[in-house]
């Protein structure tokens, strides 16, 4: 069981302002039936992320059973490598990004114990794969053995390890000090120390600080100001000053604002209306902007964005973990 992650074929105008739940559910469920499209095979490197995006969106849409549970678990486990990490698909190399998705999927399906039963070395092995990617000098995290650095990986490590109850395997204070070095005078954060602020990196840094219990280090008013300036007249968010809006920033900006208690600093109803204009009301799914191609990445983050805004019947999302709130509440209290 796996889902195609690339662009979908879709039609339709976008004046419909209602959330087409059933269309989106069908769209996600059918992603795995497109093996006769080249795109399905060219996006294999996103497969495990795609399952996480699709599964989480389905949970938020109130259809947690829409994907076959056992097949999903089997697929996740088939992506594990000997070093304990997970690749994007069977045979692909292990990388932080997919290992985090694997953990998030197993937690969402309440199937972490499958790691002990059928995985390679149980959750301890997964934890050690992640912990070994921390740079002991700087506290930052690499994506894999080849050494790319990005605050995304630090967040991913904190996310997965805390869900597994293994955060003690890494040097949290050092990682926190590293995050502080990524902060700029505008109160926002960059991908590495000294780099320009970017809404995606703000989410990774602020959510990681939330997991570490160090939100006291965030300049909430200044950051909240910068984040709220991401909203444009269309209602959508951009990721940096003077850039175009994109539905996925509904999540990166919105969740960051929610984590620092400033979500009411933007116009939620205008944002929701913008997100809804990005949906394909006929074939399902969301694109980056109104009228554009849909894909499961934007579909997931658009729905998660609507969840932050308590839109309609969508289930509550955890702004720190980007998973259903009921799931994280249950897991983190274990």
């Amino acid at each position: 069981m796996s889902l195609v992650s690339g662009p979908g074929r879709a039609v339709g105008a976008q004046h419909d302002q209602q959330l087409c739940i059933q269309k989106h559910v069908e769209y996600i469920k059918n992603l795995d039936s497109r093996r006769d499209e080249l795109e399905y095979w060219l996006t294999e490197h996103l497969r495990l992320n795609g399952v996480y995006w699709g599964l989480t969106a389905l949970h938020l849409l109130g259809c947690p059973q829409a994907l076959p549970r056992e097949d999903t678990i089997d697929f996740v486990l088939s992506c594990q490598k000997d070093n304990g990490g997970f690749g994007a698909a069977p045979g692909h190399d292990a990388h932080m990004l997919y290992t985090v998705s694997a953990v998030q999927i197993l937690v969402t399906l309440d199937a972490v114990d499958e790691l002990e039963k059928r995985g390679l070395g149980g959750k301890a092995k997964v934890g050690s794969f992640i912990a070994n990617l921390q740079d002991k000098e700087t506290g930052s995290f690499m994506g894999d053995e080849w050494g790319e650095l990005d605050t995304r990986f630090l967040y991913g490590a904190f996310n997965a390890l805390s869900l597994l109850g293994l955060l003690h395997l890494v040097d949290v204070p050092k990682a926190v000090a590293y995050l502080q070095k990524c902060e700029n005078l505008d109160g926002a954060y960059g991908i590495r120390p000294g780099t320009e602020s970017h809404a995606g990196q703000v989410f990774t840094c602020v959510a990681a600080l939330a997991i570490a219990g160090r939100l006291d280090l965030v300049n909430k008013d200044r950051l909240g100001g910068w984040l709220s300036e991401r909203q444009l007249e269309t209602g959508g968010f951009n990721g940096r000053p003077e850039k175009l809006e994109d539905a996925c920033y509904s999540w990166w900006v919105g969740s960051s604002l929610a984590i620092i208690d400033r979500l009411h600093w933007i116009d939620g109803s205008k944002l929701a209306a913008y997100i809804l204009r990005c949906q394909d009301p006929e074939a399902g799914g969301f694109g980056d902007r109104p009228g554009n191609m849909v894909d499961v990445f934007h579909t997931h983050f658009a729905i998660a964005g609507l969840s932050l805004l308590n839109h309609g019947s969508i289930k509550e999302v955890d702004p720190v973990y980007c998973m259903p709130k009921t799931v994280t509440t249950k897991y983190l209290s274990k």
Binding site: L42, A88, H95, N184, W265, G291, H298
Partner: protein, 356 residues
């Protein structure tokens, strides 16, 4: 990562012929994938295998695992060349140069594909590890030219700017004996200036400028007077730029500069040792400048935000907000509530904080 900016197209049932064609493409792709997997599993790092890897990556540069195969294949080649003795440097240089060349058309076609840039950095780092400084330095210098070209095509490319920092850091470390200092702070400052000159609303370049000014002053062990001089120049520059007061990038740079007058964060700025009275002088001068900008731009919310910010900074330095100033802040705030309905909640919170 996902599709960006691709217009949705009307679905057309694929003709049977088109379907068959696509199936053949899939078959070819999978066959190539299988071949590469087999060769790599058998550690057969021959020129033919490398050719197949190239072919597969040209079809799908997002296939990160295959970039890892390529690294292993290259490492194998490097070890073989190293064993060759005298000709090793020449051989390794050729291998790296050829591979850098292989990436160029891919980068042109897929400029936002992370994996290609990561692989390229790894390759250049290999040059650093395996070749004499004089040789690897030349490769990194060419890389600086390449990233310059790329940023001239897409001047806000987030990865492009990050990549530039890596290249500059490497070049600064790859110094030869005859070079006095490796620092490129001045030439990079000039570069940022050029980029701002091309497009004033390029915040990436303004951000880079902020970082470089700090470095320049620190490297010169600049005196407080020199720091003040730099600050004056920057204030003049931003005032001239703000003849377009509707550009958010400029106001964020302005906000960065105002941090110099905030006693709690001034140590992170270019002029950390200003006295309180100097700070107040600057802030009052700033208030006048901004007030002038209002003329003809009464509907520009950024102007009111900046007036409020400066007034609050004055109160921070003085230790109190006078009644007169509070009234002014409230009147600007009422403008903001009108002009900036998107952020109404923010302004309401601020209003409440003032009355506390």
């Amino acid at each position: 990562m996902a599709s960006h900016g691709i217009p949705r197209y009307t679905v057309q049932e694929r003709s049977e012929e088109a379907r068959q064609q696509e199936l053949r493409k899939i078959e070819n792709y999978q066959e190539l994938d299988r071949l590469v997997q087999q060769k790599v599993a058998a550690h057969e790092y021959t020129p033919e295998t490398l050719q197949s890897i190239s072919e597969l990556l040209s079809k799908n540069p997002e296939y990160y695992t295959v970039w890892n195969y390529r690294r292993r294949a290259l490492q194998n080649e490097f070890s073989r060349a190293s064993a060759a003795g005298e000709s090793a440097v020449g051989e390794i240089t050729t291998l790296i140069k050829d591979d850098l060349q292989f990436l160029i058309p891919l980068l042109r076609k897929f400029p936002k594909c992370y994996w290609i840039w990561n692989y390229r950095l790894w390759l250049l780092d290999e040059a650093k590890r395996r070749l004499p400084v004089s040789v690897s330095r030349r490769l990194w210098e060419e890389e600086l030219a390449l990233v310059g070209k790329m940023l001239s095509l897409d001047s806000r490319n987030f990865h492009g700017w990050g990549y530039r920092r890596f290249v500059v850091e490497s070049l600064e470390k790859l110094t030869t004996d005859e070079m006095r200092s490796g620092s490129m702070a001045q030439s990079e400052f000039d570069y940022a200036k050029k980029m701002i000159g091309t497009n004033l609303s390029n915040f990436s370049a303004w951000h880079y400028r902020t970082k470089l000014i700090q470095r320049l002053l620190n490297e010169r062990s600049a005196s407080d007077e020199e720091r003040k001089k730099m600050l004056d120049d920057e204030l003049n520059l931003i005032h001239r730029a703000l003849c377009d007061p509707y550009d958010q990038s400029l106001w964020f740079y302005h906000q960065n500069l105002m941090c110099t007058f905030d006693p709690t964060i001034s140590e992170q700025t270019m002029a950390p040792n200003l006295s309180d009275s100097e700070r107040l002088d600057y802030l009052r001068g700033e208030m006048e400048e901004i007030q002038d900008m209002l003329d003809g731009a009464e509907d520009c919310k950024y102007v009111y935000q900046a007036l409020i910010e400066c007034t609050l900074l004055i109160s921070k330095v003085e230790g109190r907000l006078s009644n007169a100033d509070q009234q002014k802040v409230l009147s600007w705030l009422s403008e903001l509530k009108k002009l900036d309905p998107l952020r109404y909640g923010r302004w309401l919170d601020f209003e409440r904080s003032l009355s506390q």
